[in-house]
Subunit: 324 residues, 2 copies
Amino acid sequence: MATINDVAERAGVSVTTVSRVLNNRGYISEKTRKLVYDTMEELNYQPNEIARSLLRKQSNLIGLIVPNVAHPFFAELASAIEFYAYEQGCKLLLCNSQLDPKKEREYIDMMKRHRVDGIIMGSHTLEVEEYTQLNSPVVTIDRKIADLPYVASDNELGGRLAAELLIAKGCKKVAHLCGHLELDLLANLRTTSFEHTMREHGVEFMTLQTSMDVFDQHQYETMISDLLSRHHDIDGIFATSDIIAAFVIKWCHKLGRKIPRDIKIIGYDDVNITSWVSPSITTIKQPITDMGRMAVELVRKQMDGERIEQQNKLRVQLVERETT
Amino acid sequence: MATINDVAERAGVSVTTVSRVLNNRGYISEKTRKLVYDTMEELNYQPNEIARSLLRKQSNLIGLIVPNVAHPFFAELASAIEFYAYEQGCKLLLCNSQLDPKKEREYIDMMKRHRVDGIIMGSHTLEVEEYTQLNSPVVTIDRKIADLPYVASDNELGGRLAAELLIAKGCKKVAHLCGHLELDLLANLRTTSFEHTMREHGVEFMTLQTSMDVFDQHQYETMISDLLSRHHDIDGIFATSDIIAAFVIKWCHKLGRKIPRDIKIIGYDDVNITSWVSPSITTIKQPITDMGRMAVELVRKQMDGERIEQQNKLRVQLVERETT
């Protein structure tokens, strides 16, 4: 493989000159610049990005920590983040914490060593102080940690929109399936605001918490079949993810409850599966693409020393489909 | 942030000694080694991974190129690859080619510059010679390129198992929805083998190709609604992905075709959504976790100069659920 010395020798210039061209530093005549570029092309010279990172003190790497990219919400978010990182000339290091604080901690140490330019944190497990002690720019997704900047969608509005739709559709007894409220997530505001709106309108409701493991499908099955078997008069369900909503549909089919005639269902996120299942799921759309774009933008702005807002709250939207 | 100089000064040893401890080179007494480690801990010194990569000529990075991680198959594959890469002390660079040869080419150039230890290639777009000219170890997923090692599941067996099940269930007129056969993918063997088995048993069938864009859901809707509306007597469908199978279920619901009474459906992959939709999807299970594990193992073995097989074909399995 050609080295910087080969390029310098063939072009008849010094290594310093080649280095200046590469790093766009110091005065170089157009003629010399062209000569160096032509020679690099001729020799198929690949500047060593690792060596250049050392000089520039930038790695062009963004680290993304999510619970598990196999979950549709995080898969679609990772896809959006990768898209915008690429636009900024950055590459994405993907880390699944898998609800394992040890793994998350090791990933953070690794990111420090690799001098990542920034970390986007969509995980839920680790104690927060680990993130406040980093030297790199950090952006969190849907989680408020000390004064770190975060991107979230308007969970309060989401909870209210869901409640209002079920009420408008005439539901009299509603169940809300939410995440584990012990976790300090902004998503919990959906629950607060949903319950508040229900109380305001005097509609009967109950709230059921799922466990932390979003991949424990068995718990969804048990929880939902129990709920529907015990409460035959439930006529509305607001689930905190489209996946949970899909399981509700499944059990309604099994138990012969007609959707939306007997029971109305609203999901959350608006991931692709909302249109893959039937009936297709009415949901509260999180602007996943915009959330990814904004997370990358907030990393870049911190790198460039620009002023940023701590709170970055994006609008949600009710998307009506066939379950309501 | 503490530097190697700070560590040397505080420990009262030379920078070379600290460097030797870090890189495990040259003779260092146990006493000195412990002193250096204790001092590093005391000063919270993080060795600069970039600088160490340069010394070691290893980056501990594995690059993964997929069409789009938002697709459930690639999301679950990426999750498995990340899991096993982490076990090997490697980090994962995630690249979505998004069917854009320019983006895929730029990513490959970037990976060369970053001196990734290996590339796992699950994309479909690029001309093959780009991959044969790399210096890093490469492993492809479900694609045979020159003599590069690949991981695939047994597509031939998959196609045959699907055909045999539909025949055993008494189907008389079957449609097969496959990917774009122009793409040189090993997955095309599913189609060959499915058609072969159908012919052997003298069962009527038709094959419909989808376009290259696995995210163009509109095409699925049109193709499937057309198919079912025009051919009322179709009583079996073999879809080349679980997502396509989900769309078939959706249109059967819309058109009042009862599953599995009127029509039997088999998907492919066994991604999580097979259990999220109802009825749950009978499918040919690709061993996604094992495929990820093997891809990482093949990268590592190439790095270590171990002998590897070019063909690495894993078994598939029929998983019967509610659509057959």
